[in-house]
């Protein structure tokens, strides 16, 4: 059994005198005014409570995969890696003064089993059973060996108080007055602003330093950015165009940003469509896209160019199989792309577009989400790149719902975007959901992952082996093989890397996560990381 110490995780600048008190104002475009619902199982509002009010069993840092026990004081895997036993922390109180116990954990998971619409992480698609063992242990039985699934179950599922939730007639209903174990309590909510106050009985003694957190509602990016740039908020979480002029220059000594990558933004290539099922076409496209220019023009360079292994850099650099990547060398190279196409029997038509022997032109529609202007700008570059190389793509902006429906059911040729599942603390999560054919479905059916319908049994097997292993070396070796299939088959093309947008001002608040001290994923919308970030913050003036 692995014993862990309960603390904030890292210990940054221990010699700094941390003052208690102060207010942190969050500036994050949410697109709505607040409904004052703090149901942690409602996907639309859980970002307002999970991490601050409600907590998981273990905090698993999205960027570093460093695990910190929270409501669990310890945990252990069975030898077959199918059963997880968790020891519940003692001495923790709910914010209404009731003691926290293993009952609450058991209740929370049973609640999710009963109400599948609350199970945002689909925990019960992984679990087969949850039992209480003694008074302080909970035993999770998984359907198969599932070491990485620890993340969804232990790190991404908020625990709620049984004494309150068992009395609710409808657990999907709004929760206006949340009771949790977290470092903050919700003190006041108007449609415009939510005020959180320090939880005086928080189990991590002395924390948080900050007295109050304000979370105003922004319906649109522009007002949110103005608010931040004007110095009205401390902590930003969205794209800011030309951030140097817009934000940094407004207060050069205090304003900072850091945009760590957390997922890939891919071109999904529907493998069931003619021409696109041809590996050569996909490879040619991978050569034909100038990823750094896309990154520069579409995202001001804030979202770095992706690489064809699908492993995020620098976040997960240690996992990248650099030699393979170098071997395939998917650098921007239109000539190479042309060679690949010609070698596969494609010829360039008079319109400058390649066609196969039967005359079918390499002309594809790509779907994107309207209103995502950075994507639109990115696709303008992609389209120009490919067109000059000999492949035509036409952009279709759909609303979010139509886009998602088309993507999930495979009703598209090309699609631009990232996985809909939340990112994970290692490349495994994203790549499995991208490549493992167990996550996909037939065309017309809704797929939870592998939207491109890539089917490769040997790759599927690699993911199973990975999941059954706790050995880091073995995992790295498996990940190398997975990367090879990405490079060889090009099932999707990672174009840029999605980042955690994160701007902060050190004018009155210190203790922020930084690249050199990434103690949490830093965006206000990283769950439950924002709670971890908040307990590190302190007043400086």
């Amino acid at each position: 059994m692995l014993l862990l110490t309960a603390c904030g995780g890292s210990s940054p600048a221990a010699n700094v005198q941390r003052q208690a008190g102060g207010t942190v104002t969050i500036d994050n475009e949410s697109g709505t005014t607040w409904t004052c619902d703090f149901n942690p199982y409602n996907g639309a509002v859980n970002f307002l409570s999970f991490g601050t009010v409600y907590e998981p069993l273990v905090y698993d840092n999205l960027l570093t995969d460093k695990k910190t026990p929270y409501l669990a004081s310890a945990y252990s895997w069975s030898s077959d890696n199918k059963t997880l036993t968790v020891t519940i922390r003692s001495g923790v109180q709910w914010s209404d003064g009731q003691p926290f116990s293993a009952d609450d954990v058991l209740f929370s998971f049973q609640l999710l089993k009963k109400n599948s619409s609350l199970d945002l992480q689909s925990a019960w698609s992984l679990l087969s059973d949850v039992q209480e063992q003694g008074t302080d242990k909970i035993v999770f039985t998984f359907q198969s060996a599932a070491v990485p699934d620890f993340y969804q179950v232990a790190a991404q599922t908020p625990i709620v108080p049984k004494h309150i939730w068992s009395t609710l007639s409808d657990p999907t209903a709004a929760v206006p007055k949340p009771v949790g174990t977290g470092p903050f309590t919700m003190s006041d909510c108007t449609p415009q602003n939510i005020k959180y106050l320090k939880n005086p009985t928080y189990w991590q003694k002395g924390l948080p330093y900050i007295q109050e957190v304000d979370y105003p509602a922004f319906t649109d990016n522009d007002p949110a950015n103005q608010f931040l740039a004007a110095g009205n908020a401390d902590w930003g979480g969205q794209f800011i165009p030309n951030i140097q002029t817009y934000y940094l220059n407004k207060d050069k000594t205090h304003n900072h940003y850091w945009f760590p990558p957390i997922d890939n933004i891919n071109i999904w290539i529907n493998q069931t469509r003619p021409l696109l099922s041809d590996k050569a076409v996909r490879q040619a496209m991978a050569f034909g896209i100038d990823r750094s220019k896309v990154s520069q023009n579409g995202e001001y360079g804030y979202e770095p160019a992706g690489n064809q292994t699908g492993v995020l850099t620098p976040t997960f650099s240690s996992w990248v199989d650099q030699s393979q990547l170098n071997k395939y060398g998917y650098k921007f190279d239109p000539n190479k792309a042309a060679q690949v196409l010609q070698a596969a029997g494609y010829t360039k038509g008079s319109d400058g577009i390649y066609a196969d022997s039967s005359g079918k032109r390499l002309s594809f529609d790509i779907i994107s989400i309207s209103g995502y202007t950075d994507w639109t700008a990115s696709l303008q570059v992609v389209a120009q790149n490919l067109k000059s190389m000999g492949i035509e793509i036409k952009e279709h902006d759909l609303n979010q719902n139509d886009y998602a429906n088309d993507l999930y059911t495979g009703n598209y040729q090309l699609a631009y975007g990232s996985l809909s599942t939340s990112p994970g603390p290692s490349p495994f999560y994203e790549l499995r959901n991208t490549l493992d054919s167990q996550t996909t479905a037939d065309i017309g059916q809704i797929a939870g992952g592998d939207y491109e319908r890539y089917k490769n049994p040997s790759v599927d097997a690699l993911f199973d082996q990975f999941a059954a292993s706790t050995d880091s070396a073995k995992q790295h070796q498996l990940m190398s093989q997975i990367q090879k299939s990405m490079l060889e088959d090009v099932p999707v093309i990672p174009v840029t890397e999605g980042v955690a947008w994160y701007e902060y001002s050190t004018k009155s608040i210190g203790g922020w996560p930084t690249q050199s001290d990434p103690f949490s994923a830093p965006a206000p919308w990283n769950l439950p990381d924002w709670g971890v970030t908040l307990i590190h913050l302190y007043k400086t003036s």
């Binding site: 522009d222 520069q296 023009n297 309207s370 202007t373 952009e395 279709h396």
Partner: protein, 306 residues
């Protein structure tokens, strides 16, 4: 963007002149009216710019050839966009679509207004009741939301969807105005004379009623064009147009999304906004001048110079 729905009595003035004379008179009246002249001049300039965009624009408008967010300079009169495109070139090219939307949407809405309004007035009775109700329903339903709904669903259709949306939501006001003028015309005896002479309804509507409504129809077109300019700008600003189109509205959309005003390229937002204002203003000026021509009482008062 809300219209002022007013039974504009001043419009229902005596019809002016014959076809050739109508046009001749209108032309003369327009040229002698300072507001009309200013408006027309602006329109002509925009039309020229639209036509000559390929010649006068220094760069291809969509090509991202330059550095991002460059300040105005001799090479880039208005600087560059967040994608490294030349704003001035975009502005010149954007004139085309903006003008096309204004003119096509204005014209189409006017045609529907004329058909519905004049037919209703001429036929009278039950057809009038039904058409009138139809018009009223379209007047009463919230225009902008309806526009947003339609535009949102037909998003990928590009500029023609915008035009369609504007036409669907924009014809009813004019139909009502035209109906009321046609109603007042209907009482005039030359129409009765035509009927007694044995003319068919279609002839009466086309050859007798419409020529007498020329000035109101033109005014209506101008009003609809103003509405189209503003509505298209609003829709495109909301991102409900096709962002890959190039017009002032989409430029504003991109500028807004790139925080142009604060991110160091204010001209990106100011220039297309000004152009929209100018174009709308020009149409409105000519329209107002039409009011003055149709209703001399509205003209600026002359005082004897002594």
């Amino acid at each position: 963007m809300s219209l002022n729905l007013v039974a504009d009595q001043s419009r229902v003035a005596a019809p002016v002149g014959s076809r050739s004379r109508v046009l001749g008179n209108l032309a003369r009246a327009l040229v002698s009216n300072r507001k009309a002249l200013t408006g027309l001049a602006v329109l002509v300039i925009f039309a020229l710019v639209a036509l000559l965009a390929p010649v006068i624009a220094p760069y291809p408008p969509q090509a991202d050839l330059f550095g991002q967010i460059l300040p105005p300079s001799a090479q880039h009169l208005l600087g560059t966009t967040g994608n490294g495109q030349d704003i001035f070139s975009q502005l010149l090219w954007g004139t085309r679509q903006s003008l096309v939307i204004a003119i096509l949407a204005g014209a189409a809405a006017t045609v529907i207004s004329v058909i519905v309004g004049v037919t209703a007035a001429y036929l009278g009775g039950i057809p009038d009741h039904v058409l009138n109700l139809f018009t009223d329903v379209f007047l009463v339903i919230p225009t902008l939301p309806l526009m947003i709904v339609i535009a949102a669903y037909a998003r990928s259709g590009g500029v023609f969807v915008i035009i369609l949306v504007i036409v669907i939501t924009g014809w009813s006001y004019g139909a009502r105005q035209l109906r009321s003028q046609a109603l007042s015309l209907r009482k005039r005896e030359f129409l009765e004379a035509a009927r007694v002479r044995g003319e068919r309804n279609v002839y009466i509507i086309l050859a007798e009623i419409l020529p007498n409504m020329t000035s109101l129809i033109v005014a209506n077109f101008l009003g609809a064009a103003v509405y189209a300019v503003l509505a298209a700008a609003g829709l495109q600003f909301l991102g409900l147009g096709d962002p890959n189109d190039l017009s002032w509205g989409t430029m504003l959309f991109w500028a807004e999304n790139n925080g142009a005003l604060l991110a160091g390229s204010p001209w990106w937002a100011i220039a297309p906004g000004l152009c929209i204002a100018l174009l709308g203003g020009a149409f409105a000026l000519v329209n107002y001048a039409f009011d003055e021509i149709g209703n001399p009482a509205l003209r600026p008062v002359r005082r004897r110079r002594q």
